[in-house]
């Protein structure tokens, strides 16, 4: 029995959730008393694989094929199916990225398995694994036990595990050459493009300052932008702000926007509707500034100030500038 973490890269760059998955796989394997390995798929992924060889892993698999250069669900599933047959991992963990969402159900269903998606925690109970996932936008949690024969598949929510907890060590790289025929691939990926010219990648921001309805007027957003600038962070917003057109949709955090997990998430004038919380509660440190002490945002906040944001934010900007 073993755990296998399938890590995600694009054009030789790691998706940062990959290391959260690696940390989770190491922890789960340790608790089960089994070995853990990691795999990376692509074309020319040896550099990435070598980087993984510095982690505490039984084995690193570099799954190499020129048809894995650009992601397609058919090629990825073909390669992974062969890797499963060859190495017999009991549990495969994936980061819950858009790409994984695309191919994981296909991979699991082909083996008559149900992939457990968007997992936020796990525990080992009587030798078997229980995964925790959220239902109804995070209002309800569900414990799901892995039963029967392996393999089992699960994808992990952004921010549920900490990338900085990956255990270092040494490992060896095994290059795997799956057989994939061009005829197996039914889609041809075209060039990637961004929706807009001034695109923001909130997912890679370390600090996010987010603004909500408490800001009252579009003109007041400048104040929150100043705070974001002082902190060196990105500006984001809850849905009402983007619906009103005060900020572009690409800055929206929540169930109909982006899911983020920065080091610091500062919510200004956001009450914390569940649709917003689900998009940011994986953040390492959450700060809330809101005039309503009963606002649900305080339930997920590490630090909070109950007060008028128009008084607090200018003081906060001054203090941040002083501290830097």
């Amino acid at each position: 029995m073993s755990v296998l973490a399938i890590l995600e890269q694009r054009s030789g760059q790691w998706n940062r959730m990959s290391f959260e998955t690696l940390a989770a796989a190491q922890q789960l394997a340790k608790e089960l008393g089994v070995t853990v390995s990691a795999a990376v798929l692509g074309h020319g992924v040896e550099t990435l694989a070598n980087e993984l060889a510095t982690k505490q892993l039984a084995k690193v698999y570099a799954v190499e094929h020129e048809l894995l250069q650009d992601y397609t669900p058919d090629a990825y599933c073909a390669a992974l199916a062969q890797a499963i047959d060859q190495f017999h991992p009991a549990i495969l963990l994936f980061p819950h990225t858009y790409q994984v969402r695309d191919f994981l159900p296909k991979l699991a269903t082909a083996r008559r398995r149900v992939a457990v998606s968007d997992v936020v925690a796990h525990r080992v109970d009587g030798g078997s694994v229980i995964l925790v996932r959220q239902l109804f936008q995070g209002k309800v949690s569900a414990d799901i036990r892995l039963t029967g024969e392996s393999p089992h598949f699960a994808s992990l929510q952004a921010g549920a595990y900490r990338a900085d907890q990956v255990a270092e060590g040494t490992s060896t790289v095994e290059v795997v050459h799956p057989s994939i025929a061009p005829a197996q691939i039914r889609t041809a990926p075209r060039e990637l493009f961004r929706e807009s010219q001034r695109a923001v990648d909130l997912g890679s921001a370390e600090i996010i300052v987010s603004v909500g309805r408490g800001i009252k007027e579009a003109e007041n957003i400048a104040l929150v932008q100043q705070l974001a600038d002082a902190l060196g962070g990105e500006l984001a917003a809850s849905r009402p702000i983007c619906d009103a057109g005060w900020l572009p949709m690409e800055r929206q955090v929540g169930s109909s926007g982006q899911t983020v997990a920065p080091k610091l998430y500062l919510a200004v004038g956001i009450s914390g509707a569940i649709q917003h919380l689900v998009g940011m509660k994986g953040s390492r440190t959450i700060v809330a500034i809101n005039k309503d002490a009963e606002a649900p945002i305080f339930e997920v906040a590490d630090y909070g100030i109950v007060g008028d944001l128009f008084q607090v934010v200018p003081e906060l900007i001054a203090e941040v500038k002083k501290a830097k």
Binding site: R112, I144, F298, Y303, G304, I305, V312, P314, E319
Partner: protein, 67 residues
């Protein structure tokens, strides 16, 4: 037209087994559904906006170490 027609149609029931689906072999079992417990302890800072802001920045810098 057609709205009332479904009333007279036979409702055919199929089971997972008859379709050749083995539900029990899916490899997962839903064990429990529950309301998540609140695990976070929130530190609130009182005082004037200036005092609260200063306290918050101090915590962010020295305790959470995120700025």
């Amino acid at each position: 037209m057609g709205i009332k027609k479904p009333k007279s149609k036979e409702v055919r029931r199929v089971t997972a087994e008859s379709l050749g689906v083995l539900a029990a072999a899916s490899g997962i079992a839903l064990e429990r559904i529950y309301l998540p417990e609140r695990t976070k302890h929130t530190q609130l800072f009182d005082g004037s906006p200036k005092e609260a802001a200063a306290k918050l920045v101090e915590k962010l810098k020295f305790e959470a170490r995120v700025i």
